[in-house]
Each structure stands twice: as C-alpha cells, then as structure tokens.
C-alpha cells in the first residue's frame, strides 16, 4: 500500500516543480513527465501486487477528522478502474510533451501540467478511498482540477462558457453526494464505507436516487450529460482523453461501489439504470452522428458508451434482484470491461484527433480530408480506435459488448419471470453499435480519405514520434484485450465475487461465456485480414497513384464535390429528427439556372440548448417580473407584507 500512497503523492505533485522554472524552459515539463511516469509505475506496482496476492490491501492511519480513519482499500473493483487510469495518465503525459510544449504555450503550459497531475492523483485517491470524507475530498479536487483543465485556453469565450457549465453541473452533483454520504453515515453509523452487502434496503430509495443524480452527472448519463460535449471539446486533447477516458468513469465507480453496499437490490434500480442506459446510448450516438466538430463528436460517443456501461450495470443489478448469478456475472463483467475498454479506445481516439487538430489547426471535420496520405500513422491508429469503438473484432470493444449481449439474452432462459423485458437491451445495443459504425465511417472517410478540403489539410504533417508512441501503446492494449481476453478473467471474476455477495456469484467460465473461442476467432480474423491486405497491396502496386480519390472518371473534380460530414450522415440524422431537431439553413435551389446557394445544418444539444436554457431563461424572466412587482419601492406595500406575515403566523399558530 505504501507504493500506492507514493504513487498518489508523486502524481499529485508532478506539476509543482515546473512552477519554479522559467516560462519557456523545458525543465518543468520534463520533470512533470518523469514524476507522473514514476507515480503511475508505483501505483501500477501496488495494484499488481495486490491482485497477484489475491487479497484486498488496506491502509489505515489515524486522522484528525471525526467519523473514521484515513483508510485506503484496494480490491478488484477499484483495480479495474485504476489499471486503465495508470496507462492513460502515463500515455497522456508523454503525448503532452509534444502536443502542448511549454515553449509554444508559455502562458498556460504550467497550469495545464499542474492540474493534470492534481486530477490524476485525486482520481487515484478517490478510487482507493474507503472513507466518505476522503472520497469527497478526492472527488472535489478532481472536479476543480477538471475545471482548470477545461479552461486551459481561458482567453476563448467558448471555453469559458463550457467551463462554467461544467462547474455548475459538477457542483450540483457534488451537492447530491454530500447528502448521499450524510445518509449513508446515518445508515451505517460512521463515515467509513460500510462492509459490502450489509446495508438494509429500507430507506435506501433516497440514497439510490441521490447517487444516481450525483454519480450520473459525473458519468454523463443522458439527461445529465449537459456539461460533457462542451467540456471535452474545449480541453486540450490529452486532457480530453483523461476526462473522457477516466474522469467520467469515477461516476460509474461510484454507482458500482454504492450498489455493492446493499444486501438486497430492489428491482426498479436495475430497470431505471437499464432504461437510462438505452436512452443515453441511442441518443448519444444519434447526436454524435449530427456533429461536425470532431471532439464534440467524440464527446457524444462518450455519452453513448456510458449508456452501454449503464446497460451492463442495469443487467447486473436485475440479476441480483432476481437472484440470477449468471446474469450478474455477465452484466457486471461487461460493464467493468467496457469501462476499461472505453478508457483505452476513447483516449486513443482523442489523442489521434489531437494529432490531426495539431496538424490542421481546426476541429471542424469539413476542414480535413485526405489526411491518410499525409499522416499514415495517425490515420492507422485512429482506424484501430474506430474499429474498437464500433465494437468490431478483433479489438476490445467487441468483447465487452458481446458479454453484455450474452447477459441481455439470459432472461430468455427464464421466460415466465418479469425479467423478459430486459431482452430489449439487445436490439438497443445492436442499434447503438450500427450507428456508431456509421458515425466512424463518416469520421474516418471525411477526415482521412478523399482529397484535402482546406490548404491546411493539404500541408498537414505527420505527428512526431513522441505523440505516435503513446497512441501505439494504447492501440496495443486494445488489441491485447481483444485477442487475449482470457488474461483479464481473474480480475473480472474477483470484481464479480466482491460485488455480487450473498446472491451467490457465478464465475465467468467457458460454459456460458466462451472467451477462449472468441479469442481464437479474433486471431483467425486478424490473420485473414493480414493475408487479404497483403495480397491487395501486391496487386495494387502497379496502379498509378496520382488519380483523385473517388473521381469516378470525372476529369476535373474539386474537393467541394466530396461528401461532407453533414451530407454523409444526413439520411440517418433525419430518422432521429424527433429527438435532435437539427437546424437547417438554406439548401433550396430555385429555377433552371440557379444562382449560388448555401446550405448549413447545426444540431444543438437536445437537453442543454433545447430544454435547460429556455427553461432557465423563462425562470429568470419570471423572477425579474416578480421582483419588480414585489420589490416595488412602495412603503405601503412593504407594510402590507408585514400585516400579511403577521396574519399568516397567527393563523399558523392557532391551527
């Protein structure tokens, strides 16, 4: 455990030495990188030794705070969240050396590194804390550091706005968590986390709802995702990778940890989570399809993947309510594995998107084009991430979604029970997967294939090796989980055993989750791909290379004749118009010899821009009106209020 504490301290303080260096010197960023790498290595060592020993590790120190000791606790559940964290933090910090170098960003480079270290350390702390106050401290430091990461480029109006929305959302969530931990300490008698599976179900409704709000706000479940797209788009790419890959998962961790404390789970918890998961999955991917900003698009995919994770968790909760150990095992394994997987491939996608943005200088997909010829490595790595997020073999996204599919089909074995409706999760997942694939065909096609759509894209350069290497490491991790999923079985089985408790736990094994076969199929597919690719490559070697892509025989194509991001997705976006309400401007072509016409489309956020802003504006107007009426400056009116209050008080007292 001492290694973990060392890791937390080293990571947290990694940005501090840099503050004492000169603004444009390299020293600070190198020291920060070194300290973070050492810190994550220490943490990784601590988690690995704990997992190998097979016993949970504990650390308890006396503490001046009332209500418990300073207690850290490492178990397989925490480990599943910590392992991707270490990898993503380490790759992100190496990537940041070239992506956000100090000498190019003298004003905000030191700030970025300071808060990058703080947020990483705070997340390790909260994932291993077993005391409510310690957890909330980590949570709050993480939230505040996240705000400063998002507002790195604070001179931009749009960035400040995103940061402000994030701050409001995260504090609303934290407020719910304060109430949650107060109730928990009332139920268990101390501020320490109670022993798993001991809390009674009585009086737990409010606890669950508060947890769902507070943790769901951080995770970005659909109606609560309002802060997420703007914040992920505003932050620098490796910070977005950290926020999307790791930070939003702390919300999932909170839900998993919270539900592990109860002895019995009411069935409606699982149904709620399942429904919310389906909504955020489908609407998240539909909103992603309609975006033109590559980082906003990736951010909406985070909402979608959080939805998939919530479907898994919802199935596992249903399994506990209806006492089906196999459903618990499949749902929870899918949920936790998807947490790891999403962390890996989403960071990979954010990092490679960052390398594209770094080269072109824009976030608009329609300014890219033809980048595969100029950035072959970035393109290949992005393609790997896209395959993984679309849940295609042989990468890791397939494994976790396949586990959730298996879980969704479990209720068919018990056709009589009320559980039958849960089968609906399977078609929802299929819809999500198909739309995600369409979305990434769009992104990859418009960004990397075809002809450059702007001068900047035509002159783009390949990212430096220090940016390619971290991405390659992440892709290797994705491929590892996709091809050798059985290596993660002990970790997942440990987490399932720790979570499911008295229901009796089933282990993921060959009988109902044949991971070995999946692994074999993955290898076969990979071999097939390599062989086919090799043969195609040999056959196309003699083809002339200077022909315009997708020219279709036309001699003088221009880059404006290509599909744009909105035209490619238009047919699908129209299907979801009931929930997206895209704004479309222009596009009408009048007469036989039409003049120049314009078309543009824009899809605002379904909850933030369509519901919350109008509602808040209306409330503000109403309050201003009421204030002008009530606070009208007439002394007589104020006296009337006094009389009315006196009468009301007297009536109240007599009744």
């Amino acid at each position: 455990m001492i290694w973990l504490v060392g890791g937390i301290l080293l990571t947290t303080l990694s940005g501090v030495p840099g503050l004492f260096f000169q603004r444009d010197s390299h020293g600070g960023e190198r020291i920060a990188c070194l300290l973070t790498l050492t810190g994550t290595a220490c943490g990784l060592f601590a988690v690995a030794t704990t997992l190998i020993s097979g016993k949970d590790a504990d650390l308890e120190l006396p503490w001046a705070m009332p209500g418990g000791t300073l207690a850290l606790h490492l178990d397989p559940i925490a480990a599943t969240f910590l392992l991707p964290l270490f990898l993503i933090v380490a790759t992100g910090v190496v990537y940041g050396l070239r992506y956000w170098p100090q000498h190019e960003n003298p004003t905000n480079g030191r700030k970025l590194r300071l808060f990058y270290g703080l947020i990483s350390g705070a997340m390790i702390l909260l994932l291993s804390a077993s005391n409510g106050i310690l957890f909330l401290m980590g949570w709050e430091v993480m939230a505040i550091a996240g705000f400063f990461l998002i507002t790195t480029e604070e001179h931009k109006e749009e960035v400040r706005r995103a940061g402000y929305i994030y701050l409001i959302a995260t504090h609303a969530g934290t407020l719910a968590l304060f109430a949650l931990f107060a109730l928990l300490s009332q139920a268990s008698g101390a501020l320490m986390f109670p022993v798993a599976h001991t809390l009674p179900t009585a009086g737990s409704t409010l606890i669950f709802l508060l947890g769902l709000f507070g943790f769901g706000m951080k995770a970005g479940l659909m109606p609560l995702h309002i802060w997420l797209p703007g914040a992920h788009a505003a932050a620098p790419s490796h910070a977005s990778a950290l926020l999307s890959g790791v930070m939003i998962k702390t919300g999932i961790y909170g839900l998993v940890r919270l539900t592990s404390l109860f002895a019995e789970i009411p069935a409606w918890w699982g149904w709620t989570l399942l429904l919310l998961g389906m909504i955020s999955g489908i609407m998240g991917v539909a909103l992603a399809l309609a975006q033109h900003d590559i980082k906003r698009l990736l951010a909406y995919h985070s909402v979608e993947n959080i939805g998939i994770i919530a479907i898994g968790l919802g199935l596992a909760l249903l399994g506990r309510s209806y006492h089906l150990p196999e459903l618990v095992a499949l749902g929870l394994a899918g949920c936790l594995l998807h947490v790891i997987n999403h962390g890996l491939f989403k960071s990979l996608l954010f990092l490679s998107a960052g390398s594209v943005i770094h080269a072109v200088g824009s976030r608009e997909i329609d300014h890219f084009g033809g980048l595969l010829k100029r950035q072959p490595w970035t393109g290949a790595l992005f393609l790997g991430g896209a395959v993984a997020i679309s849940a295609l073999p042989p990468f890791n996204g397939f494994i976790s979604e396949w586990l959730i599919y298996l879980g969704a089909f479990q209720p068919l074995k018990h056709p009589a029970s009320a559980l039958g409706m849960a089968v609906l999760a399977a078609p929802a997942l299929a819809l999500i997967g198909g739309l995600a694939l369409a979305c990434f065909v769009k992104v990859f096609g418009v960004t990397f294939l075809g002809e450059p759509r702007s001068k900047a894209a035509a002159h783009a350069h390949e990212a430096p090796k220090a940016m390619i290497a971290p991405m390659a490491l992440l892709l290797a991790a994705c491929a590892w989980i996709g091809l050798l999923p059985t290596t993660l079985l002990p970790l997942l089985n440990g987490a399932i055993a720790g979570w499911s408790g008295t229901t009796g736990s089933a282990q993921l094994a060959g009988t109902f989750a044949p991971l070995g076969w999946v692994s074999l199929a993955g290898w076969l597919l990979l071999t097939l791909l390599i062989v086919t690719g090799f043969r195609l490559h040999r056959r196309s070697r003699k083809v002339p290379r200077d022909v315009a892509t997708w020219g279709c025989g036309y001699r003088f194509p221009t880059s404006r004749m290509q599909y744009t991001a909105s035209s490619f997705a238009d047919s699908l976006v129209r299907q979801f118009n009931f929930g997206l309400w895209s704004k479309r401007h222009g596009g009408k072509v009048p007469g036989l010899f039409p003049p120049a016409a314009q078309f543009s489309s824009h899809t605002p956020d379904a909850v933030l821009d369509r519901v919350l802003f109008p509602a808040f504006r209306g409330t503000a107007r109403l309050c201003r009106y009421l204030r002008a009426r009530i606070q009208n400056g007439e002394t007589a009116c104020y006296l009337l209020y006094v009389v009315l209050t006196v009468i009301a008080l007297m009536t109240f007292l007599t009744l």
Binding site: L639, L640, V642
Partner: protein, 211 residues
C-alpha cells in the same frame, strides 16, 4: 367589566372615525382621545394599584397629551389640513376596517389564551386596533397620517399589555413608550425635512430613487 367594555367599544369607534376622516386635525384629536381613554383602562381592569396608576399616568401624558401636541405643532408648521387622494379611498378603507374588526372578533376565539382572557373585549379590540393602525399605514400617503397609524398600532399593543400587566415588568412598558416617542420625534423631523425638500409631505416622492 361594564366600564372596560364600554371603554373598548369607544376605542373601536375611534378607529372607524380615524379610518373614515380626511381632516387631519380631527384625526389627531381623536387619536389623542383614544390614548386618554386607554389611560383609564389599567385602573378599570386592575383596580387602583400603584402599577396601574403609573401606567395610566404614562399613557395619558404621552399618548393623550405630549405626542398629539407634537403632531399638532408639526401640522401647523407644514400647513396641511386634509388628507387628499389616499391610496385606497375612505369608504373602502372603512369597509376593510369593518372586515378586519369582524375578523378580529372571530379570530380571538381561536387564539390559545387562558380562559379569563377570553372574557371581555380585550383581545378582539386589541387586534382590531392593530389592524386599523396597519390599514392607516398602508392606505394613506401623508407622513403625518402614517405616524397616526403607528400610534394606533401602539394603542392596540397597549391593550394587550394591560391584560398582561401583572406579569409584564414595568421596564418593558416604559421601553415601548420610549420607543414610540423616539419614533414620533424622528418622524416629526423627517416630515419637516420632506416638506422643505419637496414642498409636500407625500411619502411617495421618497420612492423616486428606487431601482
């Protein structure tokens, strides 16, 4: 009991007169009369004890003589005779006064009081006078009428205070009277200032600076 009830009935009638009259001098005189009548209330309730006599003397000198004298002087200086254009007219104010008085009688039965206080008109008369004072405060524009409103409010409190005077320490009574006196002094100065600044004592000019 008969004497106190007729005193309190007279107090109620004076409430209505003040609510319905536009003549300021008459209003001030009637409120002075109300104060003088109330000065009879403590001896009539508790007999001729030292405490009761002290209360009576205090009420008579302050409410019956000194404060009305101050107000009459102020009115002579600013040369105002009538309350014109009240925020709510005189007849509606009378009707409202009748409603609140009826309400006070109804309401007094429900108040959690000890049984001996339920007898007599003390509590309903006190409530009705307080509400009438409030009505005066709310519906009139002239600062001088608002001072009268405060006076009537205090008269209502005084009636309750008479009921409790055996339990209420003398200092509290003295404090209430002193409070009122200071309030009237301040208001008198303010009235003069308002008059000098705006050539009127309508208080609504004071809200010109509101947001």
């Amino acid at each position: 009991m008969g004497l106190t009830n007729s005193l309190l009935l007279a107090v109620l009638l004076i409430n209505f007169f003040t609510l319905g009259s536009a003549r300021l001098v008459a209003c001030i005189r009637m409120v002075a009369l109300q104060g003088a009548l109330l000065a009879l209330l403590p001896p009539a309730t508790h007999g001729l004890s030292g405490h009761a006599l002290f209360l009576a003397a205090g009420a008579l000198s302050f409410k019956g003589i000194f404060i009305p004298w101050l107000l009459l002087r102020a009115i002579r200086e600013v040369r105002i005779r009538r309350e014109v254009e009240p925020i709510i007219g005189f007849v509606p104010t009378m009707i409202l006064g009748a409603l609140t008085t009826a309400g006070a009688f109804l309401f007094a039965d429900f108040l959690p009081l000890i049984s001996e206080h339920h007898e007599g008109l003390y509590v309903p008369a006190a409530l009705a006078t307080m509400f009438a004072g409030f009505l005066l405060l709310i519906t009139r524009r002239k600062a001088i009428t608002q001072v009268l409103g405060y006076l009537m409010l205090e008269n209502g409190i005084f009636i309750i205070g008479v009921l409790l005077s055996s339990a209420l320490p003398l200092m509290v009574e003295a404090g209430v009277l002193l409070d009122l006196l200071v309030g009237v002094f301040v208001m008198g100065i303010v009235i003069n200032r308002i008059n000098r600044e705006f050539s009127t004592i309508n208080t609504e000019r004071l809200s010109a600076l509101k947001e």
